[in-house]
Amino acid sequence: MTLLKKILLPLGLFALVAGNVHAQNKELVVGSSATYRPFAYENPAKEIVGYDVDIIKAVAQKAGLQIKIVNTPWTGIFAALNNGDVDLVISGVTINEKRKQSYDFTAPYFEARQLIGVHKDSTAKGLKDLAGKKVGVVTGSTGDDIASLEFGKTSPDIKRFESTPVAISELANSGVDAVIGDNGVIAFRVQEHKQLKTVSDPNFPKEYFGIVVKQGNKALLDKLNTGLAAIKADGTYAKIYKTWFQAEAPALPAQ
Amino acid sequence: MDEVIRVEGLTKNFGQLQVLRGIDCSVSSSEVVCVIGPSGSGKSTFLRCLNGLEEASGGRVLVHGVSVHDNSTDVDALRSEIGMVFQRFNLFPHMTVLDNITLAPTKVRGVPLEQAREQARALLIKVGLLDKIETYPNQLSGGQQQRVAIARALAMQPAIMLFDEPTSALDPEMVGEVLSVMQTLAEEGMTMMVVSHEMGFARRVANRVLFMDEGVLVEEGTPEEIFDRPREERTRRFLSNIL
């Protein structure tokens, strides 16, 4: 009896403690669509890297969270969040009212604007000049929203693609006259193709990227916001920004 | 009587297997020649070389002086002069009896349809099947199908008719009706070469009988010579097994 007690008790205590510790350190799955250079993309070594990746890693470290990043196609990324396949999403997601109805966002981690990519010899100066032309966007992105608002949701002039690289290829082949997307991504892609250039429409509003969690997941949201505030305070955010965009990091609003 | 078919030193190999080892033969106009012999002797292959269904490995086959296997020969034109009747009839199942018979004359010779149909009716009367003119082959008995096949071949008014074991796939009671048609043809003066096991027919109708064994033409002669006074030992042995 005594021997059994000697073995069982420590074992039981260990299991209890280990279980508790394990529960606290549960690995969180991060969904990111890795075709969004420079925010999230796959490098030749098949690792997911980018601005978003560095941000979430820094935030997780400050908040004491274990994370694993999984490449999730943009098309199903919100569905994955809702059914629990991923715990949070960081993928160049613009915070807007429509999305806030269905999901919860952290404070901003990037300031963005929409940008138009066109051929070098295009005379377009802004969104209005694209009327009647073929415009490429990523399905369901902010660019899609803007184009739909301007030209009509069911306009046959809007051509929707699953990812930015495909839309840019279409532009390079003259399949569309312009592509509308987030400035970070469009600028990067355009400089890869010598025959393309960017056009900035001053009417495009300032937008912000946020980390997305399932609606109502306050616990995780608070942890992420804490981490985010921390990296803004101690200069980590500015350092990451400089690494990826070679410029001074803009100040971000708290909400 | 002019020579319709002339065969000189015909050889045929299927890979390593030598099926015909040098056949010399000649068929004159209005002759009826029967080819007999054990299975595997090459009789069918020989027949099929005559209209080019089989390639020759050596030697020549001349039909009306035209070499069958030559590169420059228009084989289709040659075949329209040679009628062939097969063991398994090979009627076209998706066409009526009438269409089976009129297909070749209309498409190959450009005969007007009405004329071809008239001719078809005459041929069906000849083979005794006018009432079946609108039926499909699968509604006919074997003997009836073979008679239609004969009419179909005759529609092209060939100079010579080849028969490849025409009654071997028939039930015994239908053999007679087909042989009777063939006999009528012979009596009308058609040049015919018949590969068959029907010795009675050969004796009654043939002008000449050829006995083949193991790819060689062993003996040939009139039916009386072959059946009553065979010279070769192999011929005797074959006949004693059959008769």
Partner: protein, 255 residues
Amino acid sequence: MEPILWFGWFRADIIAEYGVMFWRGLQMTILVTVICIAQGTALGLAIGLARLAEARHSPARQICRYLLRWPSTVYVSFFRGTPLFVQILLIHFAVLPLFINPADGLLISGETARSLKQNYGAFISGILALTLNSGAYISEIFRAGIQSIDRGQIEASRSLGLSFARTMYHVVLPQAFRRMLPPLGNNAIALLKDSSLISAIGLAELAYTARTVAGAYSRYWEPYLSISLMYWTLTLGLAWAVKRLEARYGRGDTR
């Protein structure tokens, strides 16, 4: 639009909102399917016959072997051996830009090329890929169908003096056709469903519409269930048509 809820959760209003697009998408799907079935069948017949081409004497013998049998065998192997999705992308982004390009198209260039690409680029690529793909499968159906016809039929026909071409046309193909109807019907149905892949290059057909709606509202049941029902209806219609054909061509066939 006011949300219209069916069964308490199905938002029929977002389907109605994109109604025009669904209708256009349905028409496009039907158009693509019909065109590719027709072209694929013609191509399949030609390739199927090419695979069987034989001649007794040179030079026809060599022509048959090297210009007909070998190329057609390679073609069939490639288009059956690579994914249709890859073929679509390859043709749209690599092959077509060689021929239709504003800068240096081998076939068409300049302004014509630009407007052609924009208005019909995805359409042309999609039709081309789908035709080539189904042509390969259909050629195998024809080849097998033709070869299944008893040799005696060909021998009897040739013995009557009918040429190879006439033998095929009057004797072999009519018989083979009835046998080929079931696999041809299956192929047509597969083609209808495969047409959804062309949405990836921006062709506005049914699947594209569903993705647009899903992207705009982050709701998946409504659009995908709707197009599923539409595809199902179309395939049922196609299957019924094939059955009617089978009944019609059944007269007087072999036992």
